[in-house]
Assembly symmetry: C2
Homo-oligomer: 232 residues x 2
DNA sequence: ACCTGAACACCGTTCAAGT
DNA sequence: ACCTGAACACCGTTCAAGT
C-alpha cells in the first residue's frame, strides 16, 4: 500500500504560541484554501504558498508538520461551510435533503476538496460537528443502534459518489462546448448501443439541469428506501 | 481549475506497430498494474516502471503520450475485471446486488483504482462495456428514458462513495490494531456526544463485517427506493 | 521563538542523438 | 521504428545556521 500507517494534525498537541507570533496557522490555512480554490490541488505547493505569504518555502514547516497536515486543515475548513439543518424544525426528510444539497454545493464551491474526500482522515472539529448532527437527524427519524451510522454512511457515500465525478466533468469540459463533448463520448461509445442511446437521451437537456435531476432522482430514491427501513 | 481541458487515450489513433515491436502497450500496462497493486498510486513513477521493464525511463513515451494516459489504460484494465450479471438470468434486483458487490470487490483488489474513480475519464472499452450492461439491467427492470441513466449513476455513486473511504480506512489502519484505532477516533470525537456513541456502537463488531453490513444496508435501501420509483 | 537558504532525493516531460 | 541520456523545471522535506 502507499500511505503511511496513520497520523493526523488533530491528534498532535498544537505548538504553544507566544502572544504575537509572526504568522498564525489560521493565516496559512486561509491562504492555502485561497490558492486551492484558484489553482486546484495540483496548484498548491509549499513553495508557492510560502511565496504568497511573503515567506520562504520552508517557513511553513514551523506551523505544520508536512503538506498532508496542511491539507487536513484546509479540508476541515470546507466542512465548516456545511450547515446541517435541525430535524426538529423541518422533519428528517427535509433535513436530509437540505443537507445533501448543501454538501454538494459546498464541494462544488471548492472542487479540490473532491480530490481529498475519503482519502484524507476527517477528524477535524468541523467534520466531527457535521457527523454529530447527521446522527442527530437519523436518530430523530427513529433509527437506532448501528442503523444510525449506516444511514449516515449511506447518505454521505451517495452525495460524495455523485459529486466527485460531477466535478471531474465540469473541470474537464473546460472550454469545450456541449456538442463537442457529446461527439467525444459518442465516439468512445461507438461499439455499445445502450451507451449511445444514453448519450443521445442525455444530450437533449442542459447539462447542469440534467445533473441536478440526476442528483435528485437518486436522493429521493434513497430517502424512500430509508423510510421503508425505518418503518419496518 | 487544475486539469487540462480534455483528452483521453481512447480518442487518439494508436500508433501503428510493426510485426514484432520491442515492447507492447499491453506489456507496459500489465507491468503498471502490477506496480500499482504492489506500491499504490504514489508508487508508480515513469522511472520505476521503466526500470521494471528493463528500459530507460523515457522509452515509455513512445507507447504512451504521458502518465495520465497510462493511468487511463490501467484503470480500464480494472473495469475489465468487473462482471455484470444478465438480468434475464437472475432478475434485476439480484443482478444489481451482484454487480454492486462485484464492483466493490474489484476496487478492494486494486485499492489504487479508488484514487482514480471519478477523476479520470472512463472512456475505455471495458468501462463502456460495464456501462452498457448496467443500462441493460435497468431497462430490463422497466425503467425508461432518462431514468435508466439516473439509476446507473445512482448505483455507481453509492458503490464508489462507499468503497473509496473504506479503502482509506483499510490502508491507514496499517499495522494499528482496532483498539488503538478506536481510541484515536474517540479522542478526536471527544467534544461530540453523538459521535462518541457512534464509535462505541461500532466498536463491538469486527470491522470487516461491520463494513459489509453497512454496505448491504445502503444497497438494500437504495434498491427499495428504486423499486418504488419503478412501480410509480 | 521563528525564519532562512542550501541541499537531497525525487518527480514528469522534452528533445537531440543514437541504432 | 524504437530507445537512450542529458537536461529542464519542478516537487516535499531536512537541517544547520541565523536572528
Amino acid at each position: 500500500m502507499s500511505s503511511k500507517p496513520f497520523s493526523s494534525v488533530w491528534l498532535r498537541e498544537p505548538r504553544k504560541s507566544a502572544a504575537a507570533p509572526g504568522r498564525s496557522r489560521e493565516e496559512i490555512v486561509a491562504a492555502a484554501v485561497e490558492l486551492l480554490d484558484q489553482e486546484g490541488l495540483s496548484g498548491l505547493s509549499m513553495r508557492k504558498l510560502g511565496a504568497r505569504l511573503g515567506a520562504g518555502a520552508t517557513s511553513l514547516y514551523w506551523y505544520v508538520a508536512n503538506k498532508d497536515e496542511l491539507l487536513e486543515l484546509a479540508y476541515d475548513q470546507v466542512w465548516g461551510e456545511i450547515i446541517v439543518p435541525d430535524p426538529d424544525d423541518v422533519g428528517w426528510r427535509d433535513a436530509v435533503s437540505a443537507l445533501a444539497y448543501g454538501m454538494r454545493a459546498t464541494i462544488l464551491r471548492h472542487p479540490w476538496s473532491a480530490d481529498l474526500i475519503g482519502r484524507l482522515p476527517a477528524l477535524g472539529p468541523n467534520s466531527m460537528r457535521v457527523g454529530d448532527r447527521i446522527r442527530r437527524i437519523f436518530k430523530a427519524a427513529g433509527f437506532q443502534g448501528l442503523d444510525i451510522d449506516f444511514c449516515g454512511s449511506t447518505l454521505t457515500a451517495y452525495v460524495f459518489g455523485m459529486t466527485i465525478p460531477e466535478i471531474a466533468w465540469r473541470t474537464s469540459m473546460g472550454d469545450k462546448d456541449i456538442g463537442q463533448m457529446r461527439d467525444t463520448v459518442r465516439e468512445a461509445a461507438a461499439a455499445h448501443p445502450e451507451m449511445l442511446e444514453g448519450v443521445d437521451t442525455l444530450a437533449d437537456g442542459d447539462p447542469d439541469t440534467v445533473r441536478r435531476l440526476s442528483f435528485d432522482f437518486g436522493l429521493v430514491s434513497l430517502l424512500d428506501g430509508l423510510e421503508r427501513r425505518r418503518a419496518s
